[in-house]
Symmetry: C2
Subunit: 584 residues, 2 copies
């Protein structure tokens, strides 16, 4: 196919759109791939649709190769299945909800676990029907609080979501690996480097969960990895718990005056001045008051104790307490709990325990896993201007539970013993996930097994954001002049630019594009008369087809210029050679 | 590609689904093509998705051949553009409306005229950019009051909607014809017989408008056609207006007693008894009181006078008064207008005019176009138990306007003089439509013309319901055993059924499907062990791939059976001949 630029529905822009912050958003709008319709909602122009179709085609081919079958669900779904699993409420404001003319509740589906589960329940009833993996490529909706970064975090987005169904855990593992392998092939074909990192599985109720991340300094996700092969995103990182220490023989806690030392730094300075040993932030126990909002709307204050040389990590603490929502406690919370002495909060006081379910406040107390029994801490004595040192975990205070809420640092030991981790940033490309039996349980999906016994099906969920992948590639494949698509997803195979005032260049270009079309290439032909070479080259660089041919001055000699958009190299060759090399 | 039925995600049903009324709905569910999610909302199983993809592919090819370019809009659209054209309100309860978390108003688009208009305004500014035709294949939403007939009238449906943009009327005519020609090719390739009929253009504000209808007794639309080539749907049919007659010398109106004659039939009987001439219903003027609800919510009573041998046609009267809504007047309306004497209503009374803007009631009076000046009528005298005869149009009463509200009958003359029309039923396949400048005007889409003058763009709109076409084909292509797809859209090219207890048939079938795959055919292979031939044949007939091969008893001799699903013919041939004939 030859598409003539004079006919193509496109307009390139010189200026970045005002609302765009990231490179992919700026360039996809400027080069005429997408146009904004509302916050986080875009229309697709012919160029954009071509790239999207190529990505979808690669995904479809690999899904088919992995034995997955395509189905399609509507975006508009009734409330009932989502009510049955609790997600109608859990999604909170992220969900677009609406009513039909009869007052029935509907939603725009952000994901379709329930629908797939019910469909399989409707069709299948025996282990003989399994394993089954079905998928769709479909437009989804999520009412983001702050849609941003163009397609990277939109309110409408295209996803490939696949779901596997097995009647045994071993079967799930096989189905999971088949999708995981397919993902590797997809990202390899898309030319996207990736790391597979452990992800948190908690909130979705499943077990094994891995993300495919593209390592890049501009990534919005942080992950850790060790030289020994461990990799996890920060939410999934777990602390290598030290051995407990002997408590016997440890000195008793001693309260000391510490006026005006309401921060870790002032506490360390003051301790070094008044105690007869060297104190660092790691010797102190920081107690952070948080407010949880549970699913049923009830609120609860909790306190988390972490070593003073670390902070609370917002994402980790969110996962740790999910599905409850986590916020910092506010003035009102402190006013309602006068037993908590701000700046001097600790689990212990001279009059007895202050934190913990059986304490004076009744406030639940959670500890970082590093605070093992037998460790001794400097922390607040829960009295104005007073701290305590020699406070021993397991003797003077205990926790209601342990949480992975503290920041992860380079050098922290990987939990599998594979050595210290380093931190890196990445962009999420995909997610594979063993859901287990949560949805099948909630919606009653059972099959008869080999022994004629009803067993609950176990499921996997596998997602790739198609539009997100497109934006990720754009984000990674550009220079200051515009986009530079990998060949596998470029909107055209070749972009031919005819320049010059005479007819010769245009005549040769016509012959060239006909030959390229004959070689089954998709060709964009800039046939515009009365447009300067500078504008044509600028548009070509912005649009970003990686292989270009310029037909200009040397056309009379039957010569054209091969132009590699990525390297910038140009090479003059006879037109026949250009055809041969481009169609090789 | 070979798809094994043992692996295919499908389950066939013996019973019709309870909610299904029409053949396409019953069979598409029973054969495992679609599954209901909510009223008028369906999920697509692999079989259904394959047929849908084939239809879409044909449409895409013909759109490309016609020079149309593909774009894609979101289903979720902001209110503003629809507000600007008035359609946010005009759509009434048909529109799914919702709010985002910030309270912004959105809708699920039932059609995208506004969005396309604004996109072109955003990109283009000169006549040199035109003509342009862009289209999308996209999921649309309409909150039907009574979703029914499966995919034929769903609340979610897939449409191909194209829009053309020109700066001259001649350009619009060319763009319109290009789409119209493409539609003819599409329906020819789909094997769908069609009639192109004039359609009403009024409500959408445009000019030329034609529908593609498939003539079939089960169609839900009625249309008329003459042997001379005229074709129109009933809403668009216009009356061939007779010449006015001389008024001079006609006898004066005479009031006569007519107790208890409140229907046309009793009036005709009574008139024949008391008047000295033969009277038929066609001599009487029937006056029907209607209540209009205008867009701004105001209500108005109007009276429509039609010859007594016809009735008001609901669809025609709706179009005639659009965008106002039309209902029959109710008790309350009559109570509020005591000057209207029920059963005896007429435009005239012995005390003066009763109907018309300057009359005693002030109620506007509309006439059927056949009631030309000089025609003489028997009608109500607007007094209890009294009618009048010899009431002459243009002398004794006049109308505020003429409306096409009366039923159309076989034998009525076509408006173009091409002879009497007959009535037929059809299913709508597509619609081509000259929108004109309505949307460009409302949304300010102008371009500079050849003289540097800003001119408003003129548009066309062209729609095909993809899912509706699929259902239409299913509705037309079936027998009592199941579906029978035309080859162009069948989910597979060939369906191979292996039967028998030995391995021979399965071994030969494996070889056959490999050969068919080598010939680039899409093959469905029923490889199921332990399933009886009867069940396999039944499933094959239900699924409806038109070309089948049965590999069974004669497999040992290298023979297979070619089975034509449509004719039912079976023919035993050597396996090599089967491959040759199927891949021809």
């Amino acid at each position: 196919m030859v598409t003539r630029l004079s006919q193509l529905f496109v307009r390139t822009l010189r200026e970045d759109p005002a609302e765009a912050e990231v490179a992919s958003h700026k360039l996809l709008v400027r080069a005429g791939y997408i146009r904004r319709q509302a916050a986080g909602i875009f229309a697709w122009l012919p160029l954009g649709l071509r790239v999207k179709a190529r990505i979808e085609q690669i995904i479809r081919e690999e899904m088919t190769a992995a034995g997955a079958q395509e189905v399609h669900f509507p975006a508009l779904m009734p409330r009932e299945p989502y009510q049955a699993t609790g997600r109608w409420d859990e999604y909170g404001e992220q969900l677009f909800r609406l009513q039909d003319r009869k007052g029935g509740d509907y939603l725009l589906a952000p994901t379709h676990e329930e629908a797939f589960t019910l469909l399989v329940k409707d069709l299948y009833s025996s282990y003989k029907d399994l394993p089954l993996t079905i998928y769709q490529i479909q437009d989804k909706y999520r009412d983001e609080a702050r849609p941003r970064a163009g397609l990277l975090r939109g309110r409408e987005f295209t996803m490939k979501d696949a779901y596997s169904f097995d009647h045994t855990d071993a079967g799930l593992e096989r189905s999971y690996m088949a999708q995981r392998d397919a993902y590797e092939r997809i990202f390899q074909r898309l030319g996207l480097e990736y790391a597979i990192v452990q992800a948190d599985a908690g909130a979705m109720g499943g077990s094994r969960s891995e993300e495919f991340l593209h390592p890049t300094p501009v990534g919005e996700d942080t992950f850790v990895r060790s030289d020994g092969g461990y990799a996890a995103n920060v939410e999934a990182f777990t602390t290598l718990v030290p051995e407990a220490l002997p408590i016997e023989g440890l000195p008793e806690p001693v309260v000391f005056d510490s006026p005006g030392t309401t921060t870790i730094q002032t506490l360390v300075d003051h301790s070094n001045a008044v105690l007869d040993r060297e104190v660092t932030a790691a010797d102190t126990l920081k107690n952070v008051v948080l407010r949880l909002t549970h699913l049923d709307g009830t609120r609860e204050l909790v306190v988390v104790g972490i070593p003073g040389d670390r902070d609370i990590d917002d994402k980790r603490v969110e996962v740790a307490f999910a599905p409850a929502e986590v916020e910092a406690a506010n003035e009102e919370d402190f006013a309602a709990n006068p037993l908590l002495v701000r700046g001097y909060i600790g689990p212990w006081s001279e009059t007895g325990p202050i934190l913990g379910e059986d304490s004076a406040t009744g406030i639940r107390y959670f500890l970082d896993p590093r605070v093992v029994d037998g460790t001794s801490w400097i922390t607040g004595a829960n009295a104005l201007d007073k701290h305590v040192h020699g406070l021993v975990a397991g003797r003077d205070f205990t926790a209601d539970g342990f949480v992975e809420a503290a920041t992860v640092r380079a050098g922290d030991p990987a939990p599998d013993g594979s050595g210290p981790v380093s931190l890196a940033r990445g962009m999420e490309l995909g997610h594979v996930f063993q859901l287990g039996r949560k949805y099948a349980e909630a919606l009653g999906l059972k099959v008869l097994d080999e022994n004629g016994k009803l067993v609950t099906v176990t499921m996997g969920s596998y997602g790739i954001g198609v539009t997100r992948i497109l934006a990720t590639i754009a984000e990674l494949s550009n220079d200051d002049k515009g986009l530079i698509w990998p060949e596998a997803v470029a909107p055209f195979d070749v972009h031919v630019v005819a320049t010059g005032k005479g007819q010769e260049a245009f005549e040769l270009a016509e012959k060239l594009v006909a030959d390229l079309e004959g070689a089954r290439l998709d060709v964009l032909y800039d046939d515009r008369a009365k447009v300067s070479p500078g504008v044509k080259f600028g548009d070509a660089e912005l649009i970003g087809v990686p292989k270009l041919v310029v037909v200009g001055r040397s056309a009379a000699d039957g010569l054209v210029e091969l132009w590699d958009r990525r390297s910038g190299e140009r090479e003059v060759v006879p037109v026949a050679e250009a055809v041969a090399r481009l169609s090789a």
